[in-house]
C-alpha cells in the first residue's frame, strides 16, 4: 500500500538537506587530517623511535626513588611563600578578569565593537611571556613579592578571562530573557541572570588557576621572590632527582588538597 504518507516521508527523506554542508564538514575534516600529517612529517614523528627509547625513561624514574623525605622540611617555607603569593596573584587576576570576560562575551554585548576590542586586549595580554612581565614589574617595583604577585595576576587574568567568557557564552538563555522582561538594565541583568549561572565555572577556573600559579612558581624565581621554583632548578642542576621527587610529591599533596576543597565548593554551588 503506497500511501500518501509514505510518499510524503520519502520526499522529506530524499529532500534531506545539506549534502553541501556534509561535504563541507568532510572537507574540513580532511584538511585537519592533512595538517596533522604534514606536521608529523615535519617534526619527524615516529612511534617506533618512541617505543625503542622508552626503557631509557626508566633510568631517570629510578633515580627519583625513593624520594628524599628529609627534604620536605627544607621546602615547606618556600611552598608556603609560593601559596601566599599565588593566592594574592590569582585573586587580583580573577577580579580583573570578570569585567573583561563580560565585555568579550557575545551573548552579553552583541556588538562587535565591544567584543572584538575586549578579545584583542585579552589576546595581547595572554601573549606576553611571563619572563617579560617579570622584567617589567621588577623594573618598576624592585624585587620581591610585589612583582611576583603582579606577574601572576597578569598571567591569571589572561587565562581566566578567556575561559570565563567562553563559559558565559554557553549559558542558558531562558533566565536572561526573564531578566530582560522584568526591565532590568544591563548590570542588573548580569547580576541576577548571568552571574548565578556561571558561578560554578568561575569558582572552578579560579581554583584551577590557583593551582597553576602554585606550579608556575618559576616566575617567582625570576623576580627574586623565592618560592619553590628555585628549588626545582637547584635539585635538577645537581641531578638530585630524589629531592626533585620530594618537591613533586609535596606539590601534589598541596594540589590534591586544593582539588578536594575545589570539589567540595563546586558541589555546594552547583
Amino acid at each position: 500500500m503506497k500511501t500518501e504518507q509514505e510518499i510524503k516521508t520519502n520526499t522529506i527523506l530524499h529532500s534531506a538537506p545539506l549534502p553541501s554542508k556534509k561535504l563541507k564538514y568532510l572537507f574540513t575534516f580532511l584538511l585537519v587530517l592533512l595538517l596533522i600529517f604534514l606536521s608529523g612529517q615535519k617534526i619527524g614523528f615516529s612511534f617506533y623511535e618512541l617505543l625503542i627509547g622508552l626503557p631509557n625513561m626508566g633510568d631517570l624514574l629510578v633515580q627519583m626513588f625513593p624520594p628524599n623525605w628529609a627534604y620536605f622540611v627544607r621546602i615547606t617555607e618556600p611552598i608556603l611563600d609560593t601559596i601566599r603569593i599565588a593566592i594574592l596573584g590569582t585573586t587580583f587576576g580573577a577580579i580583573l578578569s570578570i569585567p573583561l570576560a563580560l565585555l568579550a562575551a557575545k551573548n552579553i554585548f552583541q556588538s562587535n565593537w565591544i567584543t572584538y576590542p575586549a578579545r584583542f586586549i585579552l589576546n595581547l595580554i595572554r601573549t606576553i611571556p611571563d619572563l617579560l612581565l617579570a622584567s617589567i614589574f621588577v623594573a618598576i617595583f624592585g624585587i620581591g613579592a610585589v612583582p611576583g604577585i603582579l606577574a601572576l595576576a597578569g598571567f591569571s587574568f589572561g587565562i581566566i578571562a578567556k575561559l570565563f567568557y567562553e563559559a558565559i557564552e554557553s549559558i542558558d538563555r531562558g533566565p536572561l530573557e526573564a531578566m530582560t522582561a522584568v526591565g532590568a538594565n544591563k548590570i542588573k541583568w548580569i547580576a541576577l541572570g548571568v552571574i548565578p549561572q556561571v558561578i560554578p565555572q568561575f569558582t572552578s577556573f579560579f581554583l584551577y588557576m590557583f593551582e597553576v600559579n602554585i606550579r608556575a612558581a618559576s616566575v617567582l624565581g625570576l623576580v627574586g621572590a623565592g618560592g619553590i621554583g628555585l628549588y626545582y632548578e637547584q635539585t635538577l642542576g645537581f641531578f638530585e632527582y630524589d629531592k626533585t621527587a620530594s618537591i613533586i610529591i609535596y606539590t601534589l599533596a598541596v594540589v590534591l588538597i586544593i582539588d578536594i576543597i575545589s570539589n567540595k565548593l563546586r558541589e555546594k554551588i552547583l
Binding site: 617534526i43 619527524g44 615516529s46 617506533y48 623511535e49 625503542i52 627509547g53 626503557p55 631509557n56 633510568d59 631517570l60 622584567s135 621588577v138 623594573a139 624592585g142 624585587i143 620581591g144 618559576s218 624565581g221 625570576l222 623576580v223 627574586g224 623565592g226 628555585l230 632548578e233 637547584q234 635538577l236 642542576g237 645537581f238 641531578f239
Partner: protein, 293 residues
C-alpha cells in the same frame, strides 16, 4: 629529516652504535650564560661541522644543560657544549668526557671591554653601587647580596669561595637573594634592593642598553679567580677515532676565517683548545669548598 634517521637512532639506543660506523652526529649546546648576546642558531654550525667531518650532523639549541647531560647519558646526544659545573657533574655521572674548551677574548677589568688576548677562562665579579661606601669584600658582612642559583660558577660558587676566604659565610653572614639572570641582579642593585651583586665579567654590558649609566653608577670591588670556560664534551661510547676527528674539526673551525666569524657571532667563541679533565679539578675544589650540606 628523521625518516632515515630512525634506524640508526634505534641502534644507538641499544648501545651498539659505537662499534659501527656512525651515520649521524647529534650535537646540542646551551649558549654560555656569560655572554651578553645570545643567538638561538643551529644551522651554521651544522654546516660547518658537517663539512669538516663529512657526515650528517644535527645541531640543536637548548636553554638548560641538564637535558643535555641526561641525553648524553642515554647516548641520544653525542657532543654537548657544557658549562664547567655541569661538566663536572656529568663526568661524575659517567655521562661525558671533555675534549675541548672554548676560547674567548679576555675582559678588561677597568671598563668591561674585550681585550686582545685569547683565554680559556673567565672571571666573576662583585659589583656595588659607586656611592655605597663598600670598598672590599670584608665590608659585605651583614649586607644583602644577589646570587644566581647555587649551581652557577660565576653567580655563586666562585664568589662564595671568595667570601669564605675572608671568613664570611656566604649564606648565613649575609642576606642572600637568588636571581634568575645576571641582568636581574644588576637591576636589583641599581634599584637599591640589594647591596651587592655577583655576576660574570662583565654582565653590566647586558643592561647597558636599558640603563646607559650603569658603568658610571657602579663599581667592582673584587674579581674572583679564573673560572674555566665552556667545554665541548662527548658521550662516553664514542670511539676514539671519531673523538679525535671531532676535536680537530672544532679546532679547524676556530682557525678558519669563515668558521671563526660564525662561532664568534653565534656563541661568542673565538676558537677551541684541547682540554683535559684535570683542568676541572679546580671546579671540583671550589664546589667542595662551598658545599653546604
Amino acid at each position: 629529516g628523521c625518516g632515515s634517521g630512525s634506524d640508526d637512532k634505534a641502534e644507538k639506543a641499544s648501545g651498539t652504535a659505537s662499534k659501527e660506523e656512525k651515520k649521524e652526529l647529534t650535537v646540542q649546546f646551551v649558549p654560555s650564560q656569560n655572554a651578553d648576546t645570545l643567538e638561538a642558531k643551529a644551522k651554521p654550525l651544522e654546516e660547518l661541522l658537517g663539512k669538516e667531518l663529512d657526515m650528517d650532523v644535527k645541531v640543536s639549541v637548548s636553554t638548560d644543560y641538564n637535558t643535555i647531560v641526561e641525553a648524553m647519558a642515554s647516548k641520544q646526544v653525542d657532543v654537548g657544549f657544557l658549562p664547567p659545573t655541569a661538566y663536572v657533574l656529568a663526568k661524575e655521572k659517567g655521562a661525558a668526557e671533555v675534549i675541548l674548551q672554548a676560547q674567548r677574548y679576555g675582559v678588561n677589568d677597568e671598563d668591561g671591554s674585550p681585550t686582545e688576548e685569547l683565554v680559556d677562562f673567565y672571571k666573576s665579579q662583585f659589583i656595588v653601587k659607586k656611592d655605597s661606601g663598600i670598598e672590599k669584600v670584608e665590608d659585605l658582612k651583614g649586607k644583602k647580596i644577589g646570587y644566581q642559583n647555587v649551581t652557577s660558577s660565576a653567580g655563586y660558587v666562585w664568589p662564595a669561595a671568595s667570601l669564605i676566604d675572608v671568613n664570611i659565610d656566604p649564606l648565613k653572614d649575609v642576606t642572600p637573594v637568588t636571581f634568575k639572570g645576571h641582568d636581574q641582579a644588576i637591576i636589583a642593585l641599581l634599584n637599591g634592593d640589594i647591596d651587592a651583586a655577583v655576576t660574570f665579567q662583565d654582565a653590566r654590558n647586558v643592561v647597558k642598553g636599558d640603563y646607559p649609566t650603569v658603568f658610571e653608577d657602579t663599581k667592582i670591588i673584587k674579581f674572583t679567580e679564573p673560572i674555566p670556560n665552556d667545554t665541548i664534551t662527548v658521550q662516553t661510547d664514542l670511539d676514539a677515532d671519531l673523538k679525535n676527528k671531532i676535536q680537530e674539526a672544532f679546532i679547524n673551525i676556530g682557525k678558519d676565517e669563515e668558521g671563526r666569524k660564525i662561532i664568534q657571532e653565534i656563541y661568542t667563541h673565538e676558537g677551541y683548545t684541547k682540554s683535559d679533565d684535570k683542568n676541572f679539578d679546580i671546579v671540583r675544589e671550589y664546589n667542595e669548598k662551598v658545599k653546604t650540606e
